[in-house]
């Protein structure tokens, strides 16, 4: 959606930064870092690791959603369907087929991709806002199926993970660190997918379609296929994030397939900045942490002692997040990443202008000296 996100990066700067950040994230469970107010405990303890892992799952999900909204300009309200397909697919494969973890992951992903291909192809019969409604309807059907067929999915109670097929090092609170690293690995995979989509011919085509579909068609390219492929890839990444979620939470609840979740991811992406990969990540992390912290705040004594006119809104995290979202959409259209990026660009331009001005002044000074008597 923005020029900066689409231009290929030059130099090794971003690569080095990425490697440093991932290394930092990877050694975090081995360090004793406390960030009071943000993390519930020191980073080596399960509480903080669980929150960080969840934040990474949602950051990954937001990245996959950014492929739709940011790269291809598709406003989907059904993305949770594929996340849920990953989570429930893995759960069902482990529980009813009795397969080990890895084949289970493959079954979940393939199942999710098939669903994405069918629903995506039908939804793309329409575009724009109707597309949003249709994807919402499909996700709702998925949600209803999950809720109704309690014999398979556990219904409202949710589906618990059958840990028999899962390797021991990925089960339980004692293995929070391993789960954290597993999630980090999945996050990196999804980031690389997102990077590839954005920089590949496919991503460029999808981006071009979102800007001017007619023009792309006049050039003899096929916009529909490119959009569908991006849709299916994004769904596959969401499914992978769902797999990580299932392992992390040792279970899935119907909320994982609901329109609510899609809307939550949409809020993350818009909050972070549509079209920016790092924006989606920041949005996912900020949202997850805010949601958890606000929930803790809502239950605190300080809030309980307030008069009800102030207490009721403050004790509803979703009310605060929804209001924040409205404010961001109206007043900060680029989200976090867009604002920072705009600020950077302005600063760079200003510096260049300053440099030119200094140069000119210096030139002017030397010229006047030569002309002088």
């Amino acid at each position: 959606m923005t020029d900066t996100a689409s231009t290929p990066r030059r130099g090794y700067g971003p690569l080095i930064l990425g490697v440093v950040l991932i290394t930092l994230m990877a050694v975090l469970p081995l360090l004793n870092v406390s960030i009071p107010g943000i993390l519930p405990s020191a980073t080596y303890e399960p509480g903080a690791l669980a929150l960080l892992s969840l934040a990474m799952v949602f950051a990954a999900l937001a990245l996959s959603y950014n492929m739709l909204l940011g790269t291809s300009g598709m406003l989907s309200f059904g993305h949770a369907l594929y996340f849920g397909a990953g989570a429930y697919g893995l759960g069902i494969a482990l529980k009813y087929f009795g397969v080990p973890l890895w084949p289970g992951v493959v079954i979940a992903l393939v199942g999710g991709l098939v669903i994405a291909l069918i629903t995506g192809a039908v939804s793309m019969r329409v575009g724009g806002i109707p597309f949003a409604m249709v994807t919402l309807a499909f996700a709702e059907a998925g949600s209803v199926l999950v809720r109704r067929n309690s014999a398979v999915t556990g219904g409202e109670e949710g589906l618990s993970l059958n840990s028999a097929g899962v390797p021991d090092f990925l089960v339980g609170v004692v293995n929070s660190k391993n789960l954290y690293w597993f999630t980090l690995a999945i996050f990196v995979v999804i980031y690389l997918m997102s990077l590839w989509v954005d920089t590949s011919r496919l991503g460029r085509l999808a981006r071009a379609v979102s800007e001017n579909e007619l023009r792309v068609r006049v050039l003899g390219l096929e916009p529909a296929r490119a959009k569908l492929v991006v849709f299916v890839i994004a769904a596959g990444c969401a499914g992978l994030a769902g797999v990580a979620y299932m392992l992390l939470q040792s279970g899935a609840v119907p909320r994982a397939v609901s329109a609510d979740l899609t809307i939550t991811v949409l809020v993350m992406v818009v909050l972070g900045g549509v079209g920016y990969r790092w924006g989606a990540i920041v949005g996912g992390v900020v949202y997850t942490v805010l949601d958890q912290r606000l929930t803790v705040l809502a239950g605190s004594d300080a809030i309980a002692s307030l008069p009800s006119l102030v207490r009721v809104p403050l004790s509803e995290p979703l009310f605060l997040l929804g209001s924040l979202f409205i404010v961001v959409v109206i007043f900060v259209p680029g989200g976090i990443a867009g604002t920072v990026d705009g600020w950077w660009a302005r600063r760079r331009r200003q510096r260049r202008r300053d440099a030119i001005a200094t140069l000119e002044r210096a030139e002017g000074a030397s010229e006047s000296k030569e002309v002088g008597p």
């Binding site: 039908v122 409604m133 979202f325 959409v329």
Partner: protein, 291 residues
């Protein structure tokens, strides 16, 4: 035979309820190209305030029922008009942002309702007659369905009269047809936007009160579940077409009831299948124009 009659009549009644929600959505989309996710929030607020009023008056009488309907409609209209003025108007012509703002509003509103009225359903009283049944060809039809049908018919009739015979109605119809032309003629379409939002909101508010009587309770999630069916109906009927919305409402609801009775509670799935079929055959919907 009596089951068939029952399914048909309850389907039509449920369709009436859907129409109360879908008509506003369809009008708003037709004129402004705004997908209004906050429509469910208008409906739920109407239901809650209607219930609050009924609770303070003598419950379960007809006069209370009518007062709560009026209040629900007024509250829905006010909320919707305020939404249009404060949130939609500043984002003029930026459709995605407009959708996002209504999503945020729906998000925040449901959470706020939960904070105020709790997340458990609140069971409500209806006038005794509404809880009884009427015998139609051997089928015992709950009387709520008649009320729903009456309300939807009244809404459809008044909307048609408003759109055909008033100045604003003409502006709105012309705006749906070709908005730029209307603007070029020197008419301020933006006022029509607020009017359309208020009409949609009042229909949703009335729908909320009636939905409360239909399900027997009000809850913070009342609107969200109806909203999804309303979306499906507006797509099937053809976006922006009021008649399409009316036909699709009844079609969807009857089909849904049929599937629920005869195909083991698969109503919701059948509706989505119908949506897929309609999209594959006629992407613009039953009465929609190809874009």
């Amino acid at each position: 035979m009596s089951t068939l009659v029952l399914v048909l009549i309850t389907g039509a009644g449920l369709g009436a309820l859907y129409f109360l929600v879908a008509s506003g959505l369809s009008l708003i989309y037709g004129l402004m190209h705004v997908l209004n996710f906050a429509h469910g929030a208008f409906l739920t607020l109407g239901a809650f305030i209607g219930w609050e009023v009924a609770r303070r008056l003598d419950t379960a009488t007809w006069s209370t029922f009518f007062v709560s309907i009026l209040v629900g409609g007024a509250v829905g209209a006010a909320f919707a008009a305020l939404t249009e003025l404060a949130l939609i108007r500043p984002l003029y012509e930026r459709h995605i942002e407009q959708v996002l703002v209504t999503v945020g509003l729906a998000f925040a509103a449901v959470a706020l309702y939960q904070g105020i009225w709790g997340s458990d359903p609140i069971y409500i009283d209806s006038p005794p007659w509404m809880l009884q049944t009427t015998d139609v060809l051997g089928a015992l039809v709950p009387n709520t369905y008649w009320v729903l049908m009456l309300a939807a018919t009244a809404l459809l009739a008044s909307l048609v009269i408003f759109l055909r015979f008033t100045r604003y109605g003409t502006i709105i119809r012309a705006g749906v047809e070709n908005r730029w032309m209307v603007t070029a003629l020197g008419i301020d379409v933006r006022r029509a936007f607020t009017v359309v939002f208020a009409i949609g909101g009042s229909a949703a508010g009335v729908g909320g009160v009636l939905a409360g009587h239909y399900t027997g309770y009000v809850s913070a999630y009342l609107g969200s579940s109806l909203l999804i069916f309303a979306f499906i109906i507006t797509v099937i009927g053809g976006l922006g077409s009021l008649t399409g919305a009316a036909i699709a409402s009844v079609l969807v609801a009857v089909l849904q009831q049929f599937a629920n009775y005869y195909l083991g509670g698969t109503g919701d799935i059948i509706v989505v299948v119908l949506l897929a079929v309609v999209l594959l055959a006629r992407p613009a919907g039953l009465l929609g124009r190809a874009s």
